[in-house]
Amino acid sequence: MQVNLLAFAQARDQLGWSERTVVCTPEDTPRSILARVAPDLRVKLMRVAVDQEYQSWDHPIGEASEIALIPPVSGG
């Protein structure tokens, strides 16, 4: 299966891209995917959203189609 990996704000700056497709399995977690795709990314302060819902870094992604890296938000 494939998921779309999205990077916003500081995550995009660090990675140098905003979107890419990643081959993965339902057992993969956001953390395991990031370890393959961007092992150097500093995720300490970031949250992750799976299909537009905040999710644990260590929760299997199942049949999700979109994973987003969410640096600290600052709307308003």
């Binding site: 999205l6 959203a49 905040y54 640096p71 938000v73 709307g75």
Partner: protein, 124 residues
């Protein structure tokens, strides 16, 4: 409750006041304005971005949850994206209700929750 959520790269145009009924007694509005000084730095403006589908989904949920606590008739939420110069509004919120208490609390809590959880970013 009637909910309008808008993201725009154009300057925020404040919508004309439309009252859904004659039972409306309160209209509370908030505008967030870009300041010149942020943490001792002089700015010309701020650059905003959003993960818009997720932002819409979470704002809708926040507004639904707040409506259960503070019943209101209308919420209008407009957030500007892209470059916003100093002195211009990045955010406009209008809440309309029968009594002021609900609308005041709704606006305050909606902004707090947006700042905590809704995927919108500002950068110098």
């Amino acid at each position: 409750m009637e909910t309008h959520i808008t993201f725009t790269t154009a300057p925020i145009a404040i919508p004309a006041l439309a009252l859904p009924s004659r039972e409306i007694g309160a209209c509370v509005e908030f505008q967030g304005i870009v300041r010149e000084t942020e943490q001792d730095r002089q700015l010309a403006g701020l650059q905003y971005e959003a993960y818009e589908p997720m932002a819409r989904r979470h704002l809708s949920r926040i507004f639904d949850e707040l409506a259960a606590l503070h019943p209101c008739a209308v919420v209008i939420f407009i957030h500007r994206l892209g470059w916003v110069p100093v002195g211009e509004a990045s955010l406009f919120v209008r809440v309309i209700s029968a009594h002021r208490g609900e609308a005041l609390q709704f606006v305050a809590e909606a902004i707090d929750r947006m700042k905590a959880d809704v995927p919108i970013w500002k950068r110098a």
